[in-house]
């Protein structure tokens, strides 16, 4: 079973192998926390998105500014398994959820993915790592209650990771009927332009999500590229401006958690013991159907 990648020069990929690889990654992911807008992309769209990102960032150093979906791991794993012949040379995932960072580390160790690592990082803190990434990827809180301010924070950190001389792929809401996604798209594009980047490509309404209150809502890929001669406007600083934070995770929902800490379990990946108990087989069991 092969999947033909329309309108590209990329070779076909074995769709069964690709879906099974992404299934391995999905199995490894922590459960989403809705209060932080952790809403996972549907698996078929993850397969196509991962292939796209692998090609877009081929041979490059890629920063993920948050990655609940685990697209980063899919990208690294597809290449490792030989399902695609391209992919980033190095991937670093920056996320404030230690469960996500831990899941990446465990999966990378198990599958010997040497080109991916994770860093616990809250995007409201200054970005203190070397700004030597070629490109960034982010699928941030979509900013329905703040006209995209939360998206802009993640994009800003991505631009800082690339020292304002790279490319970025931003995944945000895209809907034909609702007003707010259009306002957010316009504001994010304006912000990128002000920051010295232009929209190189927009891929509308690509991805579906496990979103029970609006399963038809899609997201798009917005791909930015920096203008020639880009440079950072100044050092990276903590974000404290109340106007950017007061509706960060939704109306009247400012950030109040610095990190999500993981409760370590020896039986990681297995059913949690508080979900079940064993009822012993009785000696007279044969008489009780």
């Amino acid at each position: 079973m092969y999947y033909y990648l329309h309108m590209t020069e990329r070779p076909d990929i074995d769709l069964r192998d690709a879906v099974n690889a992404v299934s391995d990654v999905v199995q490894n992911r922590p459960r989403p926390l809705r209060e932080f807008d952790q809403i996972y992309m549907k698996t078929a769209d993850m397969v196509l998105q991962s292939e796209l990102v692998a090609h877009w960032a081929d041979g490059k150093k890629l920063a993920f500014i948050g990655d609940g979906d685990s697209i980063s791991v899919c990208v690294a794993y597809l290449k490792k398994r030989g399902i695609v012949g391209y992919g980033p040379s190095e991937i670093t995932v920056f996320d404030f959820d230690e469960r996500i960072c831990g899941a990446i580390t465990r999966f990378a160790e198990r599958e010997n993915l040497t080109q991916i690592q994770s860093q616990l990082y809250n995007c409201l803190d200054p970005f203190t790592w070397p700004s030597d990434f070629d490109c960034f990827y982010t699928n941030p809180p979509w900013g329905e209650s703040n006209l995209g301010e939360s998206v802009k924070v993640f994009v800003q950190r991505g631009l800082e990771a690339t020292a304002y001389v790279g490319e970025g792929m931003v995944v945000i809401a895209d809907d034909l009927e609702l007003d707010w996604p259009k306002q957010v798209l316009a504001n994010v594009q304006a912000f990128a332009l002000q920051s010295g980047s232009f929209v190189q490509r927009m891929m509308p309404r690509l991805h579906a999500y496990h979103l029970d209150d609006n399963p038809s809502l899609r997201s798009c890929n917005l791909i930015f590229k920096s203008l020639p001669g880009g440079r950072p406007p100044g050092p990276s600083e903590r974000i404290t401006d109340a106007s950017r934070l007061s509706h960060f995770y939704g109306r009247d929902c400012p950030p109040r958690v610095h990190y999500v800490r993981e409760k370590m379990r020896l039986d990681y990946g297995k059913a949690n013991e508080n979900e079940y108990h064993f009822e012993p087989m009785r000696a007279d069991n044969d008489d009780n159907h």
């Binding site: 209650s145 209150d213 939704g250």
Partner: protein
């Protein structure tokens, strides 16, 4: 019933048997909780009315404008099979937890609305004259939103509704309560 005016906020919810307890028994129990504790916690689940990201800011916003948010409930047949485990604690923010007062019993739920003045009603709401007031579906007409698996919503009325709409139009509201501070909370059991 005078609550259905343009700009009015309401929380619509379908209700029925829950955790093997018939609706009439739940209503009687909640009225007793209001008598004894001054308010009741009405348990619910799902993500469409998340306490922190949806209900709390929705109610606060309307109260700032001087309004009251009513919980408008439509009775339905339900075979809800939620476990009968009783919640021990509640939290407004998911960080600080408090004991649920003894007279209040929340069963088989992850979230709960704080309510008082729970009473029977008999009127209809035209959902096409409402829109989703908050969240990722903000702006969507209520009748398009309340479909499939979605059975509750934070809505704003976009038009006045007649006191006696046509019999066939909209959804029938059988039960109404006033949503009171802290509006919506997380609940959990400790065992």
């Amino acid at each position: 019933m005078t609550i259905i005016k343009r700009g009015q906020g309401l929380l619509y919810m379908k209700v029925g048997k829950h955790a093997q307890e018939p609706l009439e028994a739940i209503i009687a129990r909640k009225r007793k909780e209001i008598e004894d504790a001054g308010y009741a916690l009405w348990g619910y689940g799902g993500n469409t009315c998340h306490p922190m990201s949806m209900v709390q800011p929705f109610v606060r916003d309307f109260q700032r404008r001087g309004g009251v948010i009513y919980l408008c409930m439509e009775k339905m047949d339900s075979q809800n099979v939620a476990p009968q485990s009783r919640a021990d604690e509640f939290s407004v923010d998911g960080i600080r937890w408090e004991k649920i007062p003894l007279p209040i019993k929340v069963v088989g739920s992850r979230y709960a609305l704080a309510i008082k003045n729970l009473h029977s009603e008999d009127f209809r709401i035209s959902l096409e004259k409402t829109r989703v007031a908050i969240g990722r579906s903000m702006g969507k007409p209520g009748n398009k939103y309340i479909a499939g698996r979605v059975d509750k919503a934070c809505l704003e009325c976009t038009e006045d509704m007649p006191a006696e709409p046509e019999e066939s139009s909209g959804v029938h509201i059988d039960l109404v309560a006033e949503i009171v501070d802290p509006y919506a909370v997380f609940v959990r059991n400790l065992t």
